[in-house]
C-alpha cells in the first residue's frame, strides 16, 4: 500500500526529500513528464486524450508538521520549536526520529512518581520540553543533531481491520489518492499533478506551483479533521469517519467554486458514492493559495476524513480512502470545458 510508504517517509515542511523520493518512484512510469520545481514540489504531467483542451491541477502536499532543533543544554538535551501546527499537550513522552539519519529520540517527561499536583494539571509549554537522544554533552548533541535539524514522530503504519493508523495522514492521504489517480487511465484533459512543499507553514509550495502550471481549475486533495468523537451537545462534527470523502464548500482560506462542488456531489449521487460536506469555516488548504493565482483559478478541496491529525498518530477508513479515489476519478471523467462555462448565469 503506497499510503504506508508515504506515511512512514520523513517530510517536515522544508525537508520533504524523503517523501519526494517516494513520490517520484511511485509516479514516474505512469506520467509523461516529471520535474521538481524551485521550491521542491514534484510536478508530474499526464497528457490527456486530447478530447478536452483544458489544464487541470491536482494538488496534495507532501510536508507534515514536526519539530526543529533550536538549541541545546549543557547535559546534551535538545531544545525544540514547532514547524506548523503542533499541539504541545501531545508531546511529552512521545517517540521521535531526529534528522535524516532518523536518530531515535524521546521527548522528556517527569515520571508521575515525582510529579507535584500543580504540575500535573498544567499543559507544558513547548519551550519547556526537551528531546533526549542519549547524548551527554552539548558538543555531542550538536554533532549528532546540528542546529536546524528536523524531527518527526516515530510512528509505524498499522492496519486495524477496516481502518489504518499512522503519522502524517495530513496530507500523505491526499498524496496517496493523487498517486492512485496518476496510475489510472488518461483523462480527457491534460492533468498537472503537484505534490507540494511547505503547506503547513503557509501554503507556500502550492502558490508557486500553480503560478507555473496556469490551470483552468484545481482540486486540492487532503486528509482532513474528523472529530466524530462523542459530544455533549447536538453540534457539528467537522467530518465523520466512514461517511465518505469530505467536500469543502468554504474554509478559512477560500470559498470553493460552486460548479466544481456540484460536479462532485452530482457524480456522488449519480453513482451512490458516500460523501459529506465538510463543516464550513474550518481550516485551510492549498486551494487557498491556488485560487488566487494569476487571474484566478476555480478550485475545490476533497479530503479523506482522518481522526487525530497533527498528532503522533492519525486514523482513517480504507473505505473512505477508496471512495475518495473513486469519486475523484469519476468526477474528473465527467469534467469538461462546459462544466466551467458561466453562460448567462
Amino acid at each position: 500500500m503506497i499510503l504506508r510508504e508515504l506515511s512512514e517517509a520523513f517530510g517536515v515542511s522544508g525537508k520533504e526529500d524523503d517523501v519526494r523520493a517516494v513520490v517520484l518512484d511511485a509516479v514516474r512510469e505512469y506520467v509523461d513528464e516529471v520535474k521538481v520545481d524551485t521550491m521542491g514540489s514534484v510536478l508530474a504531467f499526464k497528457r490527456g486524450t486530447g478530447q478536452q483542451r483544458m489544464r487541470v491541477m491536482l494538488d496534495a502536499h507532501m510536508d507534515e508538521v514536526g519539530l526543529m532543533v533550536v538549541g541545546y543544554d549543557n547535559d546534551g538535551f535538545l531544545w525544540i520549536r514547532a514547524v506548523g501546527g503542533i499541539d504541545p499537550r501531545l508531546l511529552p513522552g512521545t517517540l521521535l526520529q531526529v534528522g535524516p539519519e532518523r536518530i531515535p529520540g524521546v521527548i522528556g517527561v517527569k515520571p508521575i512518581h515525582l510529579l507535584k499536583k500543580e504540575e500535573g494539571e498544567k499543559v507544558p509549554k513547548l519551550e519547556d520540553l526537551v528531546v533526549d537522544i542519549g547524548t551527554k554533552s552539548k558538543d555531542e548533541a550538536k554533532k549528532l543533531a546540528p542546529l536546524g535539524t528536523y524531527a518527526t514522530f516515530a510512528t509505524e503504519f498499522r492496519e486495524l481491520g477496516p481502518t489504518v493508523s499512522g503519522k502524517a495522514f495530513d496530507d500523505r492521504a491526499g498524496c496517496a489518492v493523487l498517486v492512485e489517480l496518476l496510475r489510472g487511465e488518461r483523462f480527457r484533459f491534460d492533468l498537472h499533478a503537484a505534490f507540494t512543499v511547505q503547506e503547513e507553514v503557509g501554503l507556500r509550495g502550492a502558490r508557486v506551483a500553480a503560478y507555473g502550471i496556469e490551470p483552468d481549475c484545481a482540486f486540492a486533495l487532503e486528509g482532513t479533521i474528523a472529530d466524530d468523537i462523542p459530544k455533549d451537545k447536538d453540534v457539528s462534527p467537522t467530518t465523520e469517519l466512514g461517511k465518505g470523502p469530505a467536500i469543502t464548500v468554504m474554509d478559512r482560506s477560500f470559498i470553493a467554486d460552486r460548479r466544481l462542488v456540484r460536479l462532485l456531489t452530482g457524480t456522488a449521487k449519480e453513482l451512490g458514492i458516500p460523501h459529506q460536506i465538510k463543516q464550513p469555516g474550518i481550516g485551510g488548504t492549498d486551494a487557498g493559495a491556488i485560487h488566487l493565482t494569476r487571474e484566478g483559478v476555480p478550485s475545490v478541496t476533497v479530503a479523506v476524513p482522518c481522526r487525530y491529525i497533527h498528532s503522533p498518530v492519525a486514523l482513517l477508513s480504507l473505505d473512505d480512502f477508496n471512495n475518495t479515489v473513486r469519486l475523484m476519478r469519476e468526477s474528473l471523467s465527467r469534467l469538461t470545458r462546459r462544466t466551467l462555462e458561466r453562460g448567462r448565469d
Binding site: 447536538d234 457539528s236 468554504m250 477560500f254 460536506i277 485560487h291 487571474e295 484566478g296 448565469d345
Partner: protein
C-alpha cells in the same frame, strides 16, 4: 437611481455565490459595454473603450455582501451557522436571513448562556426555518444566506442591507451610463469575494493590468452618538481615502480625486480609516504594483442589516468619477 439601488441591495449575493447579483448587474450594463466578460473567479468586467492618449483605468466595486453559511442541522431541524465575512453576532439575534432559493430563516439564540450580559457567540445562535426535523429542514450544510431587510428612502438618507457595496455598484453603473466620451480605457469591475479577503479584485486586476485603479466602497463615519472619532460625516460629500488598515492611497490618485473635486466644485472629505480596508489594497499589490486609491461613500452601521448613506454623497460620487474620466 433609487430604483436601481433598491434592486441591487435587495438581490441575494453572499461572497462566493454572486450569480444572482451578477445577472442583475449584467442586465444593467450589457447595453453600455464595448466588451463584457466574467473572469475565472466570477468578477464581472465591463470595458469602455477610450482613445490612445489615456490610461488603462480600473474602477472597482464589490458585488458580494456578508452573510452566513449553514454548518450543521440538528435532529430537530435547527441549523447552526458560521459567518461569511465580518458579521456581528449582536446584529444577528432576531434577524431574518434568506437563502438562494428564497427560503427564509429566523436567527434564534440559546437562552441558557453563562453570561447573558455578554455578546453571544456564533455557537450560541441558530437558524430556525420552521422545520421540525433534520430530514424536513429545507437548508443543508454549505448553503449560504444573506440578511433580509427592505430598502427605505427617507429624506436624503437611504437605508438598506448590503449598501456595502451595492451602493458602489450603483455608482459605477450610473457613471457608466452617463459617461459620454473618455480618453481612457476604462474597466468597470464588479468584483467577487471582497468581504472574505479582497479576493476577486486581486485576480481581476491581475488580468487587466491597469495603470491606475480606484475602488469605490463605503467607509465608516464619526457622526453618531458616542462613536469612535473619525473625521467623516454623512452628507458632506464623497470621501477621498488617504489611508486605511490595508493601504496607503497612492498620492497621485488621491490628489487627482481632490483636484477634480475642487475644479468642479464637488464637496468632498478626506478619509483616514482605522478599521477595515477595500479592494484597492489588493489591486495596489498586483503584478509590479498599481497606483491605487479609493473613493468612499460615507456609511453608518456598516455590516449591520440597516446601513445608511446619504443620497447627495452618492450623486456627488458619480459626478466626481465622471470628472476623473472626462479628461486625460
Amino acid at each position: 437611481m433609487r430604483e436601481l439601488i433598491r434592486k441591487l441591495v435587495e438581490t441575494y449575493g453572499p461572497s462566493g455565490a454572486e450569480e444572482q447579483i451578477r445577472a442583475v448587474i449584467r442586465a444593467e450594463v450589457e447595453p453600455l459595454a464595448d466588451e463584457l466578460r466574467v473572469d475565472p473567479l466570477g468578477s464581472l468586467i465591463v470595458h469602455k473603450q477610450g482613445g490612445d492618449e489615456g490610461k488603462r483605468i480600473v474602477l472597482a466595486a464589490h458585488m458580494d455582501e456578508i452573510g452566513v453559511m449553514v454548518t450543521y442541522v440538528d435532529e430537530k431541524g435547527f441549523a447552526r451557522f458560521t459567518r461569511i465575512g465580518g458579521v456581528n453576532p449582536l446584529t444577528c439575534v432576531g434577524a431574518r436571513v434568506a437563502f438562494a432559493d428564497g427560503t427564509v430563516g429566523v436567527i434564534g439564540i440559546e437562552e441558557k448562556r453563562d453570561d447573558t450580559s455578554k455578546a453571544p457567540k456564533f455557537e450560541q445562535l441558530y437558524i430556525d426555518t420552521g422545520a421540525t426535523s433534520r430530514d424536513e429542514c429545507p437548508v443543508h450544510v454549505g448553503d449560504a444566506a444573506t440578511f433580509v431587510r427592505p430598502f427605505v428612502a427617507q429624506g436624503t438618507r437611504l437605508i438598506a442591507k448590503a449598501l456595502d457595496d451595492r451602493i458602489g455598484c450603483a455608482v459605477l453603473i450610473e457613471t457608466l451610463r452617463r459617461l459620454e466620451r473618455t480618453p481612457h480605457d476604462v474597466y468597470f469591475v464588479f468584483s467577487v469575494q471582497e468581504e472574505v479577503g479582497l479576493r476577486g479584485a486581486r485576480t481581476s486586476a491581475y488580468g487587466i493590468e491597469p495603470d491606475l485603479a480606484i475602488a469605490v466602497d463605503v467607509t465608516r463615519t464619526g457622526d453618531t452618538p458616542e462613536c469612535a472619532p473619525m473625521a467623516v460625516a454623512l452628507g458632506k460629500g464623497p470621501a477621498v481615502k488617504v489611508q486605511d488598515r490595508g493601504m496607503i492611497a497612492h498620492p497621485a490618485v488621491r490628489d487627482l480625486l481632490v483636484q477634480r473635486a475642487k475644479e468642479a466644485n464637488i464637496p468632498y472629505q478626506l478619509e483616514v480609516l482605522e478599521r477595515g480596508t477595500t479592494d484597492a489594497a489588493a489591486m495596489q499589490l498586483v503584478r509590479a504594483g498599481v497606483p491605487s486609491g479609493c473613493l468612499s461613500i460615507p456609511c453608518r452601521y456598516i455590516h449591520s442589516p440597516s446601513e445608511m448613506v446619504d443620497e447627495g454623497d452618492v450623486r456627488n460620487s458619480v459626478q466626481l468619477l465622471l470628472e476623473v474620466l472626462r479628461t486625460a
